[in-house]
Symmetry: C2
Subunit: 368 residues, 2 copies
C-alpha cells in the first residue's frame, strides 16, 4: 500500500503568500487524512495534487486559529464540489480535536447556514490541566454545546485519557491505529501516532507445494492467520507457510509544543519511521520559543534522538524563515540554519525541512 | 481627500487560487474599511499594497462563509503584527454585520484563546423576516450570546431597521455616513451606502478682499459655515463668500442578492458614483442564479440603470469564470460575456469587471 505525507502549510502563526498555515495530509492508497487545517488550507489543496473530497478523517492538534480556522470553509467547499444530495448513508467524515472543536464547528456552520452533502462527527479529546498554563484552559461554559447537533452532524465520542496507557485511542481499524498523546503548549495540544498494523509475510511457495496445497481459498485463509486442515488430516498453521510478518509503518505528527506531558509520547513514538515535529524558531531564539510554548530544531532533534526516529521532518516555521527558493544571500533568517541545528544533534542523519507542497513517500517496510 | 476601492477577492462560494473569496477595501486618506472578509482575505491583503492594520471598520454583508470565515484570522494576524500591549485606550475596530456575527467572533476568538492587542466592538443589524426564505433565518437560540464579552470586546449596538427610512444607520461622522439596506438572498443580506458629506466650496478671494477681510481665523470660520461680524458691524454669511459646496462621493456596495427588499436600496443608491453589484452567473444561467439567491449581469445593470449609478462594477463571479488573464481561447465560460450582458442594458457605459487586486480610484467630485 502506497503511503505519503504532503505538507500544505508549513508556516506558524498565520498563513502568508510564502507559507500556508498548518496543514498536512497523510495519504494511504488514495484515502486522505488531514492533520490540522489552518486558514487557506482549501486553497492549498486546490494547488496540490490531493483531492479534498478524499479526506475521510481530520485531526486537529490544538485550537489555535492557524491550525483550525480553515476547517469550516474546507468542509463547505468539499460539499459544494460533491454533487450528491445530502445523505446520512455516506460514511461520516470523522473529526478529532481538543474539547471545544465541536462547538466551533457547530457555531460556524450553523450561523453561516452551511448545509453539507455528507455527514460528519466530531470526537473530542478531553485535555488534562497540566497541558498548558492555567490561562490557556477553556472553562466548561466555553466548550459546552447546549445547541442541537448540526443537521449533518452525528454524535461523536468524548475521549478521555486512558490512565493506564497515558494516551487517547482515536482510530482502530483493520489497517491502522491512531492514538493521541499530550503535549505542553500555551493551550492544550496533542501529538498523533499513526501505526499501520503489521501485515502477514508472503506465502512460502515451496513449502505449500511440498504440503500439496494448491492455490485457492486455503491460501487466503493461511494468509489471514487461520489454520487449514488438509484432506489427510494434517493441520497447517500460518506460521508454517508464511514468511516473517511485515512490520507496519509508524508516522508521528506533533502539534505545537515546547515539551511533552508524561512519557507516553516517548514510548509511543519509539522507532517512528517518520517524525514530524515543529521548529518555530531557531536555537538562538530558544527563550522566545519557550515563552510561546514552541520548539527549536535542537529540541525537536533531541526528541527524535530519544525515540530513535528514523526520519525527522521539521515544520511550522516562523514566517521570518522564507522558503529556500525565496531566500536571498543577505537575508538574516536562513531556514537552512534550522536544518543544521537539528542535524548537529543527529550526526549522520538527514533532517528534512518541510516546504509547502513537499511530498514525502513512506515506503513499505522490509523485515525487522 | 483621495479615495479608492480595492478588490481583494472576487470569487463566489469559496476562495480559489484564481479568485479570492469576497473582500474589498474602501480606502479614504489611508483609513481602510473592509467590506466582507472571506477565508484567505489576510493573505490577499499581504499580496496587496493595503496595510491590514489600517482597517478601522469592517462591514459584513451576510454570514455565508465565503464572506465571513476570514475575519477571526484577520483580526488575530493584525494583532500579531501590532507591537503594542493590549490596550482599551485604542479606538476599537468596529465590525458591522447581521445578527449572529457577534457570537461567531466571540466563539471563534474565545475557543482559539486569541487575545488581541486592540479592542473591537460588534454592531449587529437585525434582519427582517422577509429578507430570505424561512429556512435561511436563524433562530433566536442560534444567535444568542449568553457568554461573557471577549476580553477585548466592547459592547456593540443592536441596530434595528428604521421604519421611517427603511434603512439602518451604521456610521455618522464628520466625513461620512454609512447606511445599510435590505437585500433578498438565501440568508439575510445587506447593501451598504457610504456617503461622503458635502464639503464647503472654496473661498471667493476677490469678495473677501472687497469686504476687507484678511486671511486669518475669519477665513476658517466662514469656511466652516459660521457667520463673521466685521469691525464695521457688517455680518458676512458663508454663502456670501463661498463657492458652491462640493458634493460628496457616494459608494454603494451590495452583498449577495437576487433582489431588494423594500425600495430603500433604489432611493439610497440614487446617483451613486460607484455601484458594486454581484453577478455570480451570466444571463444564460439566470434560473440557477435566482434559485441560489444571486444576480446576473443584466439584473445588476437594471438596478444600476434604475438608480442612475455613474459607474457599475461587477464582482462575486462563479469560479467557473476565470480572470481574463487566464482565459484560453476555447474555454466556455468567458467572463467578458458578463461585461457585455451588463453593457447591453447600459448603452454607452463602460461596466467594470472586478478582478483580485484591481484598484479603482474614486475622484473628488466637481460642482453639481
Amino acid at each position: 500500500m502506497s503511503m505519503d505525507l504532503t505538507f500544505l502549510g508549513t508556516g506558524s502563526a498565520y498563513p502568508s503568500p510564502h507559507r500556508g498555515a498548518s496543514a498536512l495530509v497523510l495519504r494511504a492508497e488514495g484515502d486522505c487524512w488531514l492533520f490540522d487545517c489552518g486558514e487557506g488550507t482549501q486553497t492549498q489543496l486546490m494547488k496540490s495534487q490531493i483531492k479534498a473530497n478524499r479526506i475521510t478523517k481530520v485531526f486537529i492538534s490544538h485550537l489555535h486559529g492557524d491550525h483550525l480556522f480553515g476547517l469550516p470553509g474546507l468542509l463547505c467547499t468539499v460539499s459544494l464540489h460533491s454533487s450528491a444530495a445530502p445523505s446520512k448513508e455516506l460514511e461520516p467524515v470523522e473529526i478529532f480535536g481538543p474539547q471545544g472543536i465541536r462547538k466551533f464547528l457547530r457555531v460556524s456552520l450553523g450561523l453561516s447556514n452551511s448545509q453539507l452533502v455528507f455527514p460528519y462527527v466530531v470526537h473530542e479529546l478531553v485535555p488534562t490541566a497540566d497541558q498548558c498554563p492555567s490561562d490557556g484552559l477553556l472553562e466548561a461554559t466555553e466548550t459546552t454545546c447546549d445547541e442541537r447537533l448540526h443537521p449533518q452532524e452525528g454524535q461523536g465520542r468524548t475521549l478521555h485519557l486512558d490512565p493506564a496507557q497515558d494516551c487517547y485511542t482515536l482510530v482502530e481499524n483493520q489497517q491502522f491505529t491512531v492514538k493521541g498523546f499530550r503535549l505542553f503548549h500555551r493551550i492544550p495540544s496533542f501529538g498523533f501516532v499513526v501505526e499501520e498494523r503489521e501485515r502477514p509475510g508472503k506465502l512460502k511457495a515451496h513449502v505449500l507445494q511440498e504440503l500439496g496445497i494448491k492455490p485457492g481459498p486455503a491460501y487466503g485463509r493461511l494468509k489471514n492467520g487461520q489454520s487449514v486442515t488438509l484432506e489427510n488430516g494434517v493441520v497447517v498453521c500460518p506460521a508454517d507457510v508464511l514468511e516473517e510478518a511485515l512490520p507496519g509503518r509508524k508516522v508521528c505528527i506533533l502539534g505545537d509544543c515546547c515539551s511533552l506531558v508524561g512519557d507516553a509520547g516517548h514510548r509511543m513514538c519509539h522507532g517512528a519511521d517518520v517524525l514530524v515535529h515543529e521548529a518555530t524558531l531557531d536555537d538562538s531564539q530558544k527563550d522566545k520559543a519557550l515563552e510561546h510554548g514552541h520548539s527549536t530544531p535542537s529540541m525537536a532533534a533531541q526528541f527524535a534522538n530519544a525515540c530513535q526516529a528514523k526520519q525527522l521532518i521539521l515544520y511550522h516555521f516562523s514566517q521570518r524563515y522564507k522558503p529556500l527558493a525565496l531566500f536571498k544571500e543577505h537575508d538574516d533568517d536562513d531556514v537552512m540554519q534550522l536544518k543544521k541545528q537539528a542535524e548537529d544533534i543527529l550526526p549522520g542523519k538527514d533532517v528534512i525541512l518541510a516546504e509547502d507542497f513537499l511530498t514525502i513517500p513512506i515506503p513499505i517496510k522490509r523485515y525487522n
